[in-house]
């Protein structure tokens, strides 16, 4: 990582972390009911799906692509689960099928993007509708609720204040942090996200990597759908509608550049928590929903604005083009 940007990134993550700590302390002191363990565990539980999908979304965006279809994939996987469950399959058999279904959704995205060279935004806007639609085709207007208590309760079970599923998230998070920041694959992803042509000239299998990133994203959405379904004990075609924006918001708030090649997972995870904490605290403090949206928006902008204002200030004293020479930062 370049020195200047590294420090900026550090500043960015630092900012998010500081914000996280600040908000949390304020909430635990100022908002009663926040600090108590059942709320904490609920808070953690509530960000599970977003956290899961943010892991893969980060890789996808660092690779200069985007996947708007995750929430729909989640819905489709829910529908598959409900449908097969009604058909009487054992849940242990259904779950892997769901993961495969999710992976297939991702594979279709990946195929269209890497083999046909279509922009991922266009493709995933299309599959965003397609997968949600398929969910309705499969499960229609039914809601499947009689899911096995063993699993539904596991999904909400906690060890102390820590929900079981949060442990799952933690394990995966560690895995992804290592992949992105310490393996050849991670390097390749960053490189191809930053300059695809150069990466290709360096013998990196650009398309193959991109393809598998989409597959991973789909599978992860399916995994999230399992948590989601069991957590709410309800499989419906419209599960998780609108989550994609929440995920992307978290990833961007975490300091990942939408143009690829830049971003770190710790930052993203911090952002996911930050958004969760803010939501939870404000609702507890009886802040009206509209204000909630407003704050979320401000948070998003402010977190980026702060470091940039610094940069703008520095620009007064130094060259107009400082750092902007690689063409991306004008965005």
């Amino acid at each position: 990582m370049p020195a200047d940007r590294f420090s900026l990134l550090r500043r960015w993550e630092g900012l998010i972390l500081i914000l996280l700590v600040a908000v949390t302390t304020w909430a635990s002191l100022g908002v009663d009911g926040f600090a108590n363990s059942s709320n904490v565990s609920f808070l953690l539980l509530d960000v599970t799906e977003i956290a899961l999908m943010a892991l893969t979304m980060t890789l996808v965006i660092v690779a200069a692509e985007i996947d708007l279809s995750v929430a729909s994939t989640l819905g489709l996987s829910c529908a598959v689960l409900g449908w097969l469950w009604n058909a009487g399959l054992p849940i242990e058999a259904i779950m892997p099928i769901c993961l495969v279904a999710g992976a297939l959704c991702g594979a279709l995205n990946g195929f269209l993007v890497t083999r046909l060279g279509l922009p991922s935004l266009a493709v995933t806007i299309g599959t965003f509708a397609l997968y949600r639609g398929l969910a309705y085709v499969i499960l229609g207007d039914q809601a499947v609720a009689d899911l096995p208590p063993a699993y539904t309760s596991l999904a909400t079970a906690t060890l102390g204040p820590i929900p079981v599923v949060t442990l799952l998230v933690a394990v995966l998070a560690v895995l992804f942090v290592v992949i992105l920041h310490a393996t050849a694959l991670g390097r390749a992803i960053v490189a191809l996200g930053s300059n695809e042509e150069a990466a290709y000239f360096a013998g990196i299998r650009v398309k193959r990597i991109r393809f598998w990133l989409f597959v991973a994203s789909g599978a992860m959405a399916a995994l999230a759908s399992l948590v989601f379904t069991f957590r709410y004990a309800s499989a419906r075609a419209d599960n998780g509608g609108g989550l994609e924006l929440a995920v992307i918001a978290a990833v961007l708030l975490g300091g990942v550049s939408i143009f690829g090649g830049r971003g770190t997972l710790p930052g993203v995870l911090a952002a996911v928590l930050l958004l969760g904490v803010v939501r939870n605290a404000l609702i507890l403090a009886d802040v009206a929903n509209e204000v909630l949206n407003f704050v979320t928006g401000l948070l998003l902008v402010a977190s980026v604005l702060a470091p940039n204002l610094g940069a703008v200030w520095r620009r007064r004293t130094s060259p107009p083009l400082e750092g902007s020479l690689e063409g991306k930062s004008a965005l």
Partner: protein
């Protein structure tokens, strides 16, 4: 020249640092109407930085900028342009999505009624410029896909179209071959005679001596000397730049050619090159010469697997190559140092060490994980061998000077210790001293049994280094000239198809 009119544009004790790097230290220089000034210096000496100050991109930390003797401050490139300064930057700055004509006239398009852009006039003027430069570029062609050389030519046309008072050219010839250079100089001279002040930067000394009247030399960002070209010989200039004596520039060692390492048979890529066959033996350095646009880079790209080919075959060490897969080619020991370092060679936002490691991630691994230590060692070793001028290996490559960026690309591929090395314009933008170093390296490698295919538009380099010279014209291989008979004349004749040569 106390009594002569004040310089059109001048720098006085100008300093500029980037963080810890002091790119310029109290440098002064004057651009005088009707005179061509050369700016000489090693890679990283501060030439481009100086250019960027003259063009309003950077603002000096200290010192003054004088326009017609009056202090001025440029707040941005727009100001400099308004003051009549036209610049050809070292790295092309084109708009890939727009046509060549629009690239040239962006912001200054000829207009008709209602401020409507007069496309016909624009096309005509662009065409006129190209005829003047003698290059057959289509004004309506999009800039995307232009070879680095063609881009450079568009940049030149852009600068000329501004009929400016000051024309600044930062290594405009780096990617060009003899013809374009002659042409360019012709135009530059006529401008100069019309009273335009010219600043010219190049690492090809002959060009400096050919075009300029005076030369200002920088070393480590400091001003070293001001000479009239008439008073010095190239060696003096080199001494001023490097600060020491320099041996022969092309210490080519002879090597006994071994068995065939790279064999290309009837390779064709429709619309780009046709029926290209040649072979390179271990220990051999084969040069691929030709005019800009002859399709040499395209051949290299196809052989390495970046572009697919429509017909023919490629064998490395007797094993057939899978088309369209650089990874596969690399597995067989092939390496390509591409011609466009910024687009194809480097990931600008990544650090020096990571760029060098990028082509050999498998080799810096430690179990499943990347070993930063191994990475650092690999980078440090080659940075040292190529005399890379850098602050820290953790810096982004985009803060490096042009030539030093080129060195990073070389390091990246040499570090792989390939068995067949294709280098496309390997010394583009590299200073004399290091160029000698690179040449020594190449011939060492050859002696060490590596097969080298070298694409170069710089004839002296070709003649100095090559055991055999292959010449391309219009996408076809038109001649093969052994070292013995390879001369400026024979090669140019083949390349241009005039006076014998090839078909």
């Amino acid at each position: 020249m106390a009594d002569s009119p004040p310089p059109v544009l001048a720098l006085r004790e100008v300093s500029k640092s980037f963080g810890a790097v002091r790119a310029l230290r109290e440098v002064s220089l004057s651009l005088i109407a009707g005179e061509a000034l050369a700016l000489a210096g090693e890679n990283g000496a501060g030439k481009s930085t100086l250019v960027k100050i003259l063009s309003g991109v950077h603002r000096p930390d200290a010192g003054r900028l004088l326009l017609d003797g009056e202090p001025v401050e440029f707040h941005g490139p727009a100001d400099a342009q308004a003051a009549g300064v036209a610049v050809i930057y070292q790295e092309p700055t084109l708009f890939p999505d727009l046509t060549v004509a629009e690239n040239i006239f962006m912001g200054r398009q000829p207009r008709g009624r209602l401020g409507r852009i007069d496309r016909r006039a624009m096309r005509a003027q662009a065409a006129a410029l190209f005829t003047r430069l003698g290059v057959p570029l289509d004004p309506e062609q999009p800039a995307r896909g232009l070879s680095i050389a063609d881009q450079q030519l568009v940049e030149i046309a852009k600068a000329l179209s501004r009929d400016a008072r000051v024309l600044i050219m930062d290594e405009p010839t780096a990617a060009l071959s003899g013809n374009e250079v002659t042409r360019l100089f012709g135009v530059a001279r006529s401008l100069r005679e019309q009273g335009c002040a010219v600043l010219f930067i190049s690492h090809r000394l002959d060009e400096i001596f050919d075009l300029c009247q005076r030369v200002t030399t920088l070393r480590d960002g400091g001003h070293v000397a001001d000479d009239r070209i008439a008073d010095i010989i190239p060696d003096d200039l080199v001494r001023r730049m490097v600060g020491r004596e320099l041996g022969a520039l092309f210490p080519k060692q002879d090597a006994v050619p071994g068995e065939v390492a790279l064999q290309v048979r009837r390779l064709t890529r429709e619309g780009v090159f046709t029926d290209v066959s040649f072979e390179v033996r271990r220990g051999e350095i084969v040069a691929l010469a030709g005019l800009v646009g002859a399709g040499r880079s395209e051949v290299a790209r196809a052989v390495f697997g970046v572009d697919r080919w429509d017909a023919g075959s490629v064998q490395v060490g007797g094993r057939a190559l899978r088309p369209g897969s650089p990874a596969a080619s690399m597995a067989l020991g092939l390496a390509l140092v591409p011609e466009d370092r910024r687009q194809q060679g480097l990931v600008m936002e990544l650090s020096i060490e990571r760029n060098i490691a990028l082509a050999g991630l498998a080799e810096v691994r430690h179990g499943p994980l990347i070993s930063r230590a191994a990475e650092r060692v690999r980078a440090a070793d080659w940075a040292q061998r190529l005399q890379l001028r850098h602050r820290s290996l953790a810096d982004a490559v985009d803060v490096l000077s042009g030539g030093n960026q080129q060195k990073v690309v070389l390091a990246k591929w040499l570090a792989r210790q390939p068995s067949v090395l294709i280098v496309d314009e390997p010394t583009r933008g590299i200073d004399v001293a290091t160029k000698a170093e690179v040449h020594r390296l190449l011939s060492e490698l050859a002696v060490g049994g590596i097969a080298v295919l070298m694409i170069s538009s710089e004839l002296p380099e070709v003649l100095g280094m090559a055991d055999r010279v292959l010449v391309m014209r219009e996408g076809r291989l038109v001649a093969e000239i052994p070292r013995g008979t390879a001369t400026e004349e024979t090669v140019m004749a083949a390349a241009t198809g005039i006076g014998g040569g090839g078909a």
